[in-house]
Amino acid sequence: MSDETAAAEEAEAVAEEAAVDLRFGAVVSKSHGDVVLHASVETYLEVCSEARADGFDQLIDLTAVDYLTYAGERALPGGLTPERFEVVTSLINHVRRERIRIRTQVSADEPTIPSLFDLWPGSEYLEREAFDMFGITFSDHPDMSRVLMPEDWVGHPLRKDYAVGAIPVQFKAASNER
């Protein structure tokens, strides 16, 4: 817990310096009219629990993005370091009719992030899908198994270094050494 509070304090300090808005301890930005919160693996669970306590009663969507081959610039507000993976969580507050999206940076070396199963059990399948497609592990998930691909499948299809274009095609004829 002390780690999390330290990380939260650090985020606050960074935010003050950069003069950006904070919500639930995460930096806020706007994207095409949507409210986007930026979190790191350390602050993720805390941001989500605070959002939950603030009345965001339903987890509407959870997915991941692999930014390995992203051509554009990836400047994140509040001095956050862009990582290869990003877990994108959409929450909804039915009373205020409000939506927020939490973008969490997940490093390629250790693609692990806490599961939201305890807050919203509906995250079960969505997290399984993100695990299946991106190989991101959600710790404390009750059943971290593949959901769409066969159980014995090797690799994670939606990673940018998987399959399409991953295996170089040899257009020259193979040398005949027989």
Partner: protein, 433 residues
Amino acid sequence: MTITDETPETVDGAARVRQRGDDAAVLRLSEAQAAAIGTDATTPDDDERVLLNMGPSHPSTHGVLRLMLEMEGETVIRSKPVVGYLHTGMEKQAEQLTFLQGCTNVTRMDYASPFFTELAFSLATEKLLDIEVPERAVWIRMLMSELNRISSHLLFMATNGMDLGAVSMMIYGWREREEVLRFFEKVTGLRMNHNYIRPGGVAADLPDGWKGEIEALLELLPPRLEEYDVLMTGQPIWRERLQGVGTLNTDEALALSATGPILRSTGYAWDLRRDQPYLAYDEVDFDVIVGTYGDCYDRYAIRLNEIRESMRIVEQILDKMPLGDYRVQDKKVTPPPRIRIDQSMEALIHHFKIFTEGFKVPEGEAYACVESPRGELGIYMVSDGSSTPYRMHVRGPSFINVQTMPHLMRESLIADAVAIISSVDPIMGEVDR
């Protein structure tokens, strides 16, 4: 029930749902573990629980849904939906296709309501492009969506009837749906997989005489719906079969991320068309239908009455349909009119460029959602400034609603499991993508 200012208490629901997961509803068992139980000669004893496989090829599993059921006699104790049999990597495929081709891809996901995925895809792209489509395009989109909701719910009526033994209902449902699809064919050229709603507007204007066609449709449907009422709604066998079966309450539905008729059947009035209006839904008048008990009967009744509400909306669209262009005149995203291609070299090049290279979409990420017949259908799109999406994720309502099944089926008879699968109305093309 209307939403009050109080924060709905879902902590209990979440706790209950979680707790149930361990021993009372959700079966978490891998294929290998399940297979081991099957070959183990010492199990099962007479009074022990038996693991039963249902599907993927079963007449009442709506395509290729497979269920692992843990049975005690005839009672389902725990269950696990096994999905993925139709997985074709459509999200990966979307990364190879341009934004213009994208609609042909996503329209194949929820094949019973293709306009909604096209619409969500187009709305997300337009959000990134920051363009506004003309009035007429907005209203055409709304018209097609509502007609599609009717055809999709009619399909539900048919399959639900079939699953529960009202076999003539199956024929009736398909018959009425065909009338709606005939109109789609006239407008888009295809009965399904239309690729009609595209970023920037729609593919073509409505054909001559479309109003007459719809008026005829609106005249044809109400007496048929009354027939359904006679055949099913008030019928004792039908009620007996559905009432009190597969119940869920509001906080459980919220905790399980359920949307659409499943959430509304618990008495929670949440409909994106009313609560977060898109297109021009704030300019039409309609009611959000809710249930009371959250059972299979409520889900059936909601869908039947949503057909009536959609017809109300379609009637208003008939009166309010504005004149004007059916697609945005932004040369970046819209090809030149067909006639110009014969007259001008530049127009030909322009046309060629848009259909080969596609148009570039500015960097950024956006989420757009619509109320599909099955719940919230959202598309999360990331663009890196090229002409194909960098990432496209679909929040398929069917996929997420499937996780309510074990909770609906707990402690119910296996015969009721069939009714429950049917009332969740999953479209496997969208579940597996």
